[in-house]
């Protein structure tokens, strides 16, 4: 639930209207000017209709330099961003050889494993020498190394489930597993703000998809009751199975899922639950076991737990952890397991080492230190931002904090001004977020030191003043006003 000043809502709508009007005007003139050019299509249909990519051509390309910036080093707390320039108003961008060292507030580097680590990196290099960079085969043929089986057992133990299965890509884990679990005649109920991979997987499965209001177990119950009573569309036969899909931390909101409420509703109506812990595994919870540990939910209550290795573990790929029967079924039916090349062995070793560090099995307490560091960092940063008057979303303990921008012009202003002051932030606009709710998303890492955070806060505060995004009253001013009143009294 975001609160914005009414005037901001009006100006944001007006800005988008203006951008839309200008875009339509330019398209209109472009069509007139291009009417004379001979078409080289020769009877073929155009690849895309003019109206479909209107947003990309007229809005996104204008601020293209704020997205997709190439980096020239590992995404540690500080990294090198390649400078780019454009000669035609951002339609094409050219890289230069110059780089700037910037504070990294955008990478999902929650536990600091993205850069060289004293325990993980030597072991990864060893496994690279021993197993080489690619298995060049699928898991079922020759691509199942000792490391893969070791990691599957380790992940299952870490998460608290009997078995696990690995995939080479996090996005594919969702979009290939959901069709293998439920098909035509089944029902998928997913949270309205679920990630695109889940939406894609649900669409690709052929099952009926219904959406419930974000993080609202009461609405989930309403939707479940309505669907169970109604049955399949047209035939009204009972559903073959019902799966409810939620995420641990929603990456665009920074909010935690209301997992206990959702689990109790699902148990009542005998629906299966699928928890996507892409952003929460390894980053929250006392021992890093994710949202189940943080909210006190027994992992046995969640039927299927999914996660990725790209965020907290500094590697690539994803996993599914569930009961032995489900994992066995997936190993036999999921195309991402049977036809896709298996994970690269050094990447597998990186995850194994990272999990060992988190569990403390490497003989030190670095894991526990990292976990407490990221918790402290997130809470400190969020509190300071809120004190400065920014509108920051997300719950406490969550390392993802979006700062609301709203106006489309503030997106490039914030992004470019921060880069000029050597802080790299990620800004997100439509269509990843609703049209009016553009935001800058900060991801805090355990490798950020207190000085880094303070520098980040200073820069964001200065830029926030310039750009005008401090929508809430500054808390310090309130307390001094109260002090003044007390003095007068």
């Amino acid at each position: 639930m975001v609160r914005l000043p009414y005037v901001t809502a009006l100006t944001t709508l007006f800005s988008y209207g203006l951008l839309f009007a200008f875009g339509q005007l330019r398209d209109f003139f472009r069509r007139i000017l291009d009417a004379r050019k001979p078409s080289n299509l020769k009877g073929y249909a155009p690849i895309c209709l003019g109206l479909e990519d209107f947003y990309t051509r007229r809005l996104y390309l204008r601020i293209q330099d704020c997205f997709g910036r190439p980096i020239a080093s590992a995404p540690d707390a500080w990294f090198d961003v390649v400078e780019r320039y454009s000669n035609d108003c951002n339609k094409t961008l050219h890289r230069t050889t110059a780089t700037t060292k910037c504070l990294n507030l955008g990478s999902y580097n929650y536990l600091g494993f993205a850069a060289a680590d004293e325990y993980c990196t030597p072991r990864v290099i060893e496994s690279l020498k021993k197993y080489s960079a690619s298995t060049c085969s699928v898991r079922v043929d020759g691509g199942n190394t000792k490391l893969h089986t070791e990691l599957e057992e380790l992940v299952a133990r870490f998460v608290g489930k009997p078995a696990a299965i690995l995939f080479g890509m996090g996005y594919v884990t969702n979009s290939a597993i959901i069709p293998a679990l439920v098909g035509k005649g089944g029902l998928i109920i997913s949270d309205s703000l679920n990630h695109n991979s889940i939406v894609n997987g649900a669409r690709g499965s052929g099952a009926t998809v219904r959406v419930f209001q974000h993080n609202n177990p009461a609405h989930l119950e309403e939707v479940l009751r309505e669907q169970i009573a109604g049955g399949q569309p047209r035939t009204h036969r009972p559903w073959k199975k019902i799966i409810v899909i939620v995420e641990g931390i929603y990456s665009m909101e920074g909010e935690l899922c209301k997992l206990p409420g959702v689990i109790s509703v699902c148990k009542k109506y005998k629906a299966y639950t699928y928890l996507d812990e892409a952003h929460s595994i390894g980053a929250i919870g006392k021992t890093g076991r994710g949202v189940c540990e943080l909210l006190g939910v027994d992992p046995a209550d969640v039927d299927i737990m999914m996660g990725t290795f790209t965020k907290s573990f500094g590697s690539c790929g994803g996993y599914i952890a569930a009961s032995n029967e489900i994992i066995q079924h997936l190993k036999l039916t999921c195309p991402a397991h049977i036809y896709a090349t298996s994970m690269s062995p050094p990447a597998v070793q990186q995850v194994i080492s990272a999990i060992k560090v988190i569990l403390g099995e490497d003989g030190t307490n670095r894991g526990a230190k990292k976990l407490s560091q990221i918790r402290e960092n997130s809470n400190f940063f969020r509190l300071e931002l809120q004190k400065m008057g920014f509108e920051v979303l997300g719950d406490n303990d969550s390392p993802v904090m979006p700062i609301m921008l709203y106006n489309p012009a503030k997106i490039p202003a914030f992004s470019r001004e921060c880069l000029r002051q050597n802080v790299a932030v990620v800004t997100v606009a439509f269509p990843a977020t609703p049209l009016l709710l553009a935001r800058a998303r900060i991801c805090i890492s355990a490798s950020h030191s207190r000085e880094d955070l303070i520098k980040g806060l200073e820069v964001i505060s200065k830029v926030g003043d310039l750009v005008g995004i401090k929508y809430f009253p500054v808390e310090q001013e309130k307390t001094t006003a109260v002090d003044k009143l007390k003095k007068i009294q």
Partner: protein
């Protein structure tokens, strides 16, 4: 707005509408922006051309007719490549809003606006021809296009299919 110079806050709950082309219409401030925009365009026309207020309202009414007819009832599909497999590519924006539900608050508001504009323009021009005729055509076409019975109807196949 608000007391002692504090801004007036509104809450923006995320709507459950999955169609990104229309969900922006469910946020607070949309109706006010629409009305303010019409009012400011009227002021602009009045200040640039120096005609009578009634003639300015007629100009606003006709421009509003042209623009809203084109964008609400003529253009089909979505202006961005949504991966919804083109389920909206045959629907105009009017047919997409509120998920195709008829007679919602948004639809009633959007139907009333052309009528109010028509009344203001006709009253201030004293119902004289030819402005009365043009205004009447504008309101007739717009209101008929917004009736629930016209959902997905293409008269004489005009504007049917890509």
């Amino acid at each position: 707005m608000g007391r002692r110079g504090e801004p007036y806050y509104v809450e923006a709950a995320p709507p459950v509408d999955v169609n990104k082309n229309t969900e922006w219409f469910m946020y607070p401030g949309v109706w006010t922006t629409y009305i303010l925009l019409l009012f400011f365009v009227w002021l602009l026309v009045l200040s640039v051309s120096g005609c009578s207020p009634g003639a300015a309202w007629t100009v606003v009414n006709l421009a509003h007719f042209a623009i809203t007819y084109h964008f609400f009832h003529w253009k089909k599909g979505t202006p961005f490549a949504a991966d919804d497999q083109g389920i909206y590519s045959r629907l105009t924006w009017w047919e997409q809003i509120d998920n195709g539900q008829q007679l919602t608050r948004n639809r009633k508001f959007l139907t009333v606006v052309p009528v109010v504009l028509y009344l203001i323009a006709s009253h201030l021009t004293d119902y004289k021809q030819p402005m009365f005729f043009l205004n009447t055509i504008a309101v007739f076409v717009l209101v008929v296009a917004k009736l629930p019975n016209m959902h997905k109807v293409r008269i004489f196949g005009i504007n049917a299919d890509i």
